[in-house]
Each structure stands twice: as structure tokens, then as C-alpha cells.
């Protein structure tokens, strides 16, 4: 039987992650809800940040949830794609930045 590890319906189970550690779970949800709701940044800005992070982190649940949220907030497809490019550029940038370590070692080791 070929059952995937990730199933779309598991997203519905997210509220139940309080199970086995309810106090910590509730603290997490308080934090999560506050951090993702409008504050100094608007709900739109925060949803685009969340979408970029979800994509970078390869989380299918969060990509599903935040793509829907961005659509609901009337965010354009090209705005969403731009946000994903910010994530992609950051990943490329931090990969390349780590080449500094490599370059330093090469320079130290080579005659």
C-alpha cells in the first residue's frame, strides 16, 4: 500500500497538536495567532512573509494554508510569486555566503 507521509487532510489536525502537551500547545497557538495577525505589519504583509517561509521550509500544509489566505486577502498571483522569489533569493544568497567558509579553508590549505 502506497500511503504518502503527507496527506492534505492532516492540515485539519493542526489544531490538535496541543495533544499530549496542552499547556505548551496553547502557548504556541497564542504566540502563533498573535505573530501572524495584523500588528505594525498588515495581515497582507504577514501572509506574504508566511508564504515565503512556508515555501522555503517546504511545508506543504503551510503552503496550502497561506496560498489560500493570500487569495482570500486579494493578493495577486504575481505578488505571491515575488514573495516566493524573495525566499528563493535568500536561500541562494545564504548558500553562497557559506562558500566563504569553503573559500577560507581552501586558501588556508592550498600551497
Amino acid at each position: 500500500m502506497n500511503q504518502p507521509y503527507y496527506e492534505q487532510k492532516d492540515l485539519d489536525d493542526f489544531p490538535n497538536i496541543t495533544e499530549f502537551a496542552p499547556e505548551l500547545g496553547e502557548k504556541f497557538f497564542d504566540y502563533y495567532n498573535t505573530a501572524t495577525s495584523a500588528g505594525k505589519l498588515s495581515e497582507r504583509e504577514k501572509s506574504l512573509i508566511a508564504l515565503a517561509v512556508a515555501t522555503v521550509r517546504h511545508c506543504p500544509y503551510c503552503i496550502d494554508a497561506f496560498t489560500n489566505k493570500c487569495l482570500s486577502l486579494g493578493i495577486d498571483n504575481d505578488e505571491m510569486m515575488e514573495a516566493v522569489h524573495v525566499g528563493a533569493a535568500m536561500v541562494a544568497g545564504d548558500t553562497l555566503a557559506h562558500a566563504t567558509q569553503m573559500r577560507k579553508i581552501i586558501k588556508k590549505k592550498e600551497m
Partner: protein
Amino acid sequence: MTESAKLDNKDTFAEQLRQCGSYPLKAIAVNTLQMNITRKCNLACKHCHVQAGPHRTEMMSLETVSQCVKVAQHPSITTIDITGGSPEMHPDIDWLVSQMAQSGKRVLVRSNLVILLEPEYSHLIDKFAKNKIEIVGSLPDYRAQRSDRQRGNGIYDKIMEAMRLLNKAGYGRPDSGLLLDLMHNPAGAYLPGSQSALEAEYKRVLSQEHNVFFNTLFCLANCPIGRYLEYLKNSGNLDDYMQTLRKAFNPQTAQKVMCRTTVSVGWDGKLYDCDFNQVENLSVNSGSPDHIFTFNYNLLARRNIEIRDHCFACTAGSGSSCCGSLTV
């Protein structure tokens, strides 16, 4: 019958109401008389729950229109909500709005706005303004591409043009007393976001990029019936959409659904709890007379509402109605 019949009993709208102590759902008054005067429309939008279009012929007869005017005089009825199809295409629209305006009640006309550019109907802008009719224009999205996917190519630009004419006549201008509201509904299988956040975006884009103005944005969740239901089925989104509506059930909205204070009249004079039930052919029940010629305020004001699973569209998130979200 919708796909919802396949679901477990516990997932039905009735059961959700039971769990939050709102079952049976009962009317508390009739404050709004909604009249669906025609199924004819110059457009044929993809999401249209009444499946209106240029080839529809249903029109409310003058006799029925006059009866609605009589019924509307009841002191508890404070809002007259005229819709369609495109209500402008009804031959007696001029007479109807003047009659209703004389009652001094809030009278609103739901318009696709594009129709007001057609020579045959453009005189209605002045007519509506003179009678202080509130116009609720349908603009599914503040961006052309998404809006046009639902309404047809080039329609967005025409709506902007119509809004410019309405603004010129005073609509949507501060202190003119002429209200131009817009109706948002998602162009796809997802729910509307926060009404205030969307209103701010609509206002920013429409004023900065098109120099047009409006008063209030109403968000409406698409109801899984009619043409929209067909779209959900054909695109493989039906189960997911119903599940999204169910998950978003908000008990706080159950007491505020519009049917509790509304009666909706069909083009043939039949009475319904709302426009959605009208499409589903569910006329008012529970011993209340179900025709405008047998309108009985006392029975209708405490009738049991005919609920089905499409009602989940009214109770998702902040709730949804013909006048926008039910909670802030």
C-alpha cells in the same frame, strides 16, 4: 440534492446549529424585503448563483411588483433590496424605484454597473440619484484580471467607466448622501478574507489607479449552488470547498444570518428565506403563506428557516450576507 447528502449526519448544518443551541433556526422579524425581479441579465458570470443571462425571460409582473410596493409599507420593513439578474432590465424599474423611494425607507438596487453604460439604461443613473437609491455594485476583485475571469473580458474596465459616471452624479462622494457600495466575492474556490483589509485594498487601488470612489465594501462568500456549484464540481473543488466552509463554521454568526430578518420574493411572487433558497426552490415553510399575495407579517416574522448545507456559506469565518460580513 447537493453532494452534502453523502456526509455523516454530524457534519450537517442542522447538527452544527444544534451543537451551538441555534436549532431550529427561526426568523425574528421581517426588516428587509428582497425582490428578485428578473433573471435576465446582460452578463452571464461564472459564479452567478441565479444563473442569470441575456436569454433568461423571467420577469416579475406589474401586478406582483405593485403588491410588493403595498407589502413594503409595513412599518417593520425598513429596507427594500431590489435584485435580479439585472434589475435595470425590468420594464417597470423606473416606476418601482419611485414608488419605493416615496416610502422613505432604505432602497437599494444591486447592479452589475456595466448595464448603466448602455444607452437604453443610462438614464437610470439620474433616476437613482434623484430618488436617493443606494447602489450596490458587483466588483468581484479590485484587479482586472481576476474580476474578468469571473465576469468576462473587458468588463472590469467598463465597471470603472460606470463608476466614474456614478461618481460624477455624486455617488460615492462624501456628504452627497448617495451611497455606492461594492460587493466582493472570491474569483475561485476560496473564502473572502477580512472585509476591512479588503476594503482598504479596494479603496487604495481604485482611487490611485482608476480615480474612482465608493463607500463600503461588502464581502460575500460564494454559495455552493447554481453556476458556482457547477464550477466547484467541474474543477474538482467541491469536497475541499465544503470542508473549508464546515471548518470555518462560526457559532457567533448563526444568530445573525440575514434570513432571520429577511423575506426574499421571487419573480413569480413566491416567498423564500433568501435568494439562495430561491435558487434551490425552497420556498418558506412552517405554515407561513409562501406568496406575496398572501403575505402575513406575523407568521413570516417567526417562521422556521429552511436550512440546508449551502447555509454553511453564511456562517464561515466572519459570516456572510448580501450586506457583507456578519461580525467584525
